[in-house]
Amino acid sequence: MSQERAFFNEMLREDGSARPAYARLARWLDAQPVNFLNRKSREAETIFRRLGITFAVYGAQEATERLIPFDPIPRIISAAEWRRLSAGIDQRVRALNAFLHDIYHRQEIVRAGRIPAELILQNEAFLPEMVGFSPARKVYSHIIGTDLVRVGENDFYVLEDNTRTPSGVSYMLENRETMMRLFPDLFQMHRVAPIEHYPDLLRQTLESVAPEGARKDPTICILTPGIYNSAYFEHAFLADQMGVELVEGRDLFVDAGRVWMRTTRQPKQVDVIYRRIDDAFLDPLTFRPESMLGVPGLFDAYRAGNVTICNAPGTGIADDKAIYAYVPDIIEFYTGQKPLLNNVPTWTCSRPDDLAYVLDNLADIVVKEVHGSGGYGMLIGPTASKREIAAFRDVLKANPKNYIAQPTLALSACPTHVASGVAPRHVDLRPFVLIGDQVRITPGGLTRVALKKGSLVVNSSQGGGTKDTWVLED
């Protein structure tokens, strides 16, 4: 997208006055001495580094752990805006779970002709092993991170539904902790909805989906690939905050159809596993035989109903980018209501008409790999060179099924601390949703910010930063 294109400024109206939710913050920013934010940014970085709040960068040697840049200016969402957003998210995650249950059972949505059968059955993310199996409470995706962008006053779009193993919630929590340490006075001036109970809610959610017949006080653990995983900090953080064991595959074993932890004394039975490893690595007996990360026999224990895996295997089909275009249909089909949140218009390159349009308009649109994540394997037309576009054209033609395309959106921008002072930078938002015996949405989420002027790329692996997200209470 060109830098000149108009975008929605979340703090300031066109006449330069502050919108109501930002009024206090704008006044406060004006009153701070020069260098104040520089100092606070340095303080924040020291805190993050000492606590080891890092993420690992794949492929980068030596400095394999990095800090995500933290922006000290909060993003503010009014209570009314949040009510609308959370109603839309609630509707969406319920529909997606209903969709997952349906496609692994009667596939009514396919029979009704609302989704092409091959899109499901030939999809890599569809797990035949899950067919006919119902997880506890019929919940498949227990933890969802819904990526939202804003393009206007009342114009929010869902960019992606992360229904497999969304990460970033530890940054949401640590950003808030850090902000409370740095700016106690700002909190006194605002009524910010608290988020620090997220680990309690996560624990309640996980307990509520223990297998039927599990003991009253179910044993929960978090399954991590280990300390070299990019989100390891988050895995350890959540285990610590919930007071549960953080396990690796080698800490677990299956015996007599049940899952056990290897402890210093007798083995201990596990009821709920919040796994942070991908489906393919869960169980070498069922999936990739060479994987060392998982637990042999885990899938059989799961299918026998002796352990709950969160999120369920096979949930990836619900956030597959090829399915994304159908989510409005999915919502209507399962809820009978119009979607409350918009989808970004999407061209599915497997359709000849769509592909033709995409090839003609590569310079203006964004093309994404269906299975890609983290900003890799994509083309951002407006900022790409002619050579990049030409090269991508060949890749796309060779395997159109692997791509979708969307128009570039004029992402909203929030005031952000930069070298020259405070300037608007583009943002997105990932609220975190928990689905168990009820749907719980934490007010706020992780705001990611593109720190480079004009840039729309907010991914941490591509140099984006994060900021605290405040939902105001009435």
Partner: protein
């Protein structure tokens, strides 16, 4: 507690203890190299530091010549040396990282800060005159971690495994240091032993015991018999073999009570402890000091292997 958590706590403490020991050996070599001593090979003190740390073979395998610079680089910065300060600090931190849920934030921040600060040190910046300050820093960071551990960790099985790693490593180190120069502790050397005085004092210094030795022995005279007794059998000396096993044995009793079950490793620890508690220097000498030290190191190692089996170290 997960078996792997127990293993990580055990190794976290071992590596942390080892970082300090390696730094202390270098400090002693550095000191002695400044004292003029006749006839000796100038690199002997540095070679000695390598031997005490058990990394002479590894150093030789790299094909380098023994100079102060090469030894310092190998013992501080070399990634392939399992006892280098760098390896120890990184492994202590990695083990702590994999059990973030089993340690306190004070412990974690201590190890993490040490590693971050160490990572900023460039080998070429560590000139000869900067070395003592750096080595003292390594020692202080180890003490700081130990303080954080003792001051904050819950007294449960996590604490016990961490203590065991600490004292198994210390016992191993002391036995190793003694064995590399056991002959200077043979009683024959007491006859006209003035030439050995600086060797005895360096030995005591390497184990942080020179000053306390003077308080422990009323005449304060350095004698082979007393130095050996001090470092092996005196349980007031915090780096003696006896002191380490007094702790290990007590900790195994605590662990037995905690789990309500006595494991074979507890019996091994008790046997080693009673041998040291009831031991006499005269008997050790008559059986052979070198053999005693070799045997001790083997039993100490056997204890840690058995401990790992008993408590499912993954």
């Amino acid at each position: 507690m997960l078996g792997r958590t127990a293993a990580s706590l055990f190794w976290m403490s071992r590596y942390q203890e080892r970082s300090q020991n390696t730094a202390r050996l270098l400090e002693v070599a550095y000191r002695i190299a400044m004292v003029p001593h006749t006839g000796a090979d100038e690199t002997e003190d540095w070679r000695n530091a390598l031997a005490c740390a058990g990394c002479e073979a590894g150093f030789r395998a790299k094909g380098g010549e023994v100079t102060p610079r090469t030894v310092i680089n190998y013992m501080i910065f070399d990634k392939d040396n399992p006892s280098s300060v760098r390896t120890c600090l990184e492994m202590a931190r990695n083990n702590a990282r994999s059990v973030r849920t089993g340690i306190t934030s004070d412990m974690w921040e201590s190890l993490n800060t040490t590693w971050i600060e160490f990572s900023d040190v460039k080998p070429q910046a560590l000139t000869h005159d900067r070395l003592p300050e750096f080595l003292a820093w390594v020692g202080q960071r180890a003490q700081q971690f130990r303080g954080a551990l003792l001051g904050t960790i819950l007294r449960d099985d996590g604490y016990y495994f961490s203590q065991l790693g600490h004292f198994v490593e210390r016992a191993d180190h002391t036995a190793r240091v003694l064995d590399t120069r056991y002959w200077i502790l043979l009683p024959d050397n007491d006859v006209g032993g003035t030439g050995h005085r600086y060797q005895w004092s360096s030995l005591l210094r390497a184990l942080s015991g020179l000053r306390s030795y003077r308080f422990a022995y009323p005449d304060a005279q350095l004698k082979a018999f007393n130095v050996a007794e001090f470092l092996i059998l005196r349980k007031e000396m915090p780096r003696s073999l006896a002191y380490c096993y007094d702790w290990i044995n007590g900790t195994m009793d605590d662990l037995t009570n905690y789990y309500g079950e006595r494991m074979p490793s507890a019996d091994l620890a008790a046997a080693i402890w009673s041998q040291l508690r009831d031991g006499q220097m005269r008997d050790i000498y008559s059986a052979g000091l070198h053999d005693f030290l070799v045997d001790f190191a083997a039993r100490n190692n056997a204890f840690s292997v058995r401990l790992a089996q008993d408590y499912n170290f993954a």
